[in-house]
Every structure is written in C-alpha cells, then in structure tokens.
Amino acid sequence: MTIDQSEKKVVGITLGLIGLFVFSLLYAKGKYKTDVPVCLPYDKAYTEPKINKLDEKTYQVFSVAAMWQFQPSEIYIPVGSEVDFYLTSKDVVHGFNIAQKNVNMMAVYGAINKTTVKFDKPGVYDIICHEYCGIGHQNMRAQVIVNYPEAR
C-alpha cells in the first residue's frame, strides 16, 4: 500500500502537535495543579450549605445550587487562602463558574463535585450559573469576597 509522502508528513506533524499539547497539559498539572474537577461519591453531608474554616488559610465551602441562587451567596475569604468548593444541586442542573480562577463545575442532583482554588489577590469574584436552569437563570449569581473592604 503506497501512502503519499506528503500525507505521511501531515500525520507525523499532527502527532507531534498532539504530543506537545499532552506534554504541556501534564506539565501544568504537575507544576500548577491545573485539573478538571475531582470526583467524589455522593454523600448527603454536602447537601447543606456551609462554610467551614479549617484554619487561618484553609476553608471549605459546601455550595448548594438551587433555582435560582447559590447558597451561601456571599462568601468572605481572607486573601491567600485555599478554598475547597464542594458543589451539588437541589434541583435542576446548574453551572458554577468563577471565571478568573479556572473554576468551572456543573451542579447536578444526586452528585457531588469538588475543586480547590487559592485566592492570592483581593477582590470580588463572581460565581455565575452558566447552564440554563429555568426562568430565573439569568439572575443566578453569588460572590466570593476576598479581603475587599469596599464590599463589606
């Protein structure tokens, strides 16, 4: 079977490109811990909204999405803290997006999602619902307030 020389080169270059991307993703995962959300088995402990302070710089937020709000809706965090967000839904599928921090999770009934973020810079971070969830969807937003005096 004769495969044309140019076509062979094309496949080779494509594989090289893919290799570069895979390497870069693994490198970022190792160095910066960039990853998709963590998988947890269902546990109804996460279905009650909560903010747990584990120590000065470590927090847990049990976020519960419902039509059409996130609870808790205002989360105050000291700057430099690491926060574990646990997420579930009381009803339909919602989104949970903190754009400036790579936080992007789906809130699903009967499931628990989790991600970890470090808030190095003060400011107000919007948590936006980005999955259609009924007539109130466009009003569904919460905020993480990191050492931002004006917002208090």
């Binding site: 140019s6 270059i13 790579n102």
Partner: protein, 40 residues
C-alpha cells in the same frame, strides 16, 4: 507551460498552508494555556 498532471505534482503550497494552520493552532492553544496558568 506544463500542467501539473504531466510532471509529478508536489503540493508545496498545501504543505505551506498546513504549516501555517499548525502555527495558528499553536498560537491559539498556548494563548488559552497561558491564560489558564495566569488564573491559577
């Protein structure tokens, strides 16, 4: 001027286009990659 099917046609222009396509992919991809790292 001989037409391409009388001498062997080597698609140099298409290969050049393909390389540019790969360069575009690299630019866009690493743009988002660096944005992701910046937001960590």
């Amino acid at each position: 001027m001989e037409s391409p099917n009388e001498e062997k046609f080597i698609p140099k222009g298409a290969m050049a286009f393909f390389i540019l396509l790969v360069v575009l992919a690299l630019l866009f991809w690493y743009g988002i990659y660096l944005l992701m790292i910046d937001r960590v």
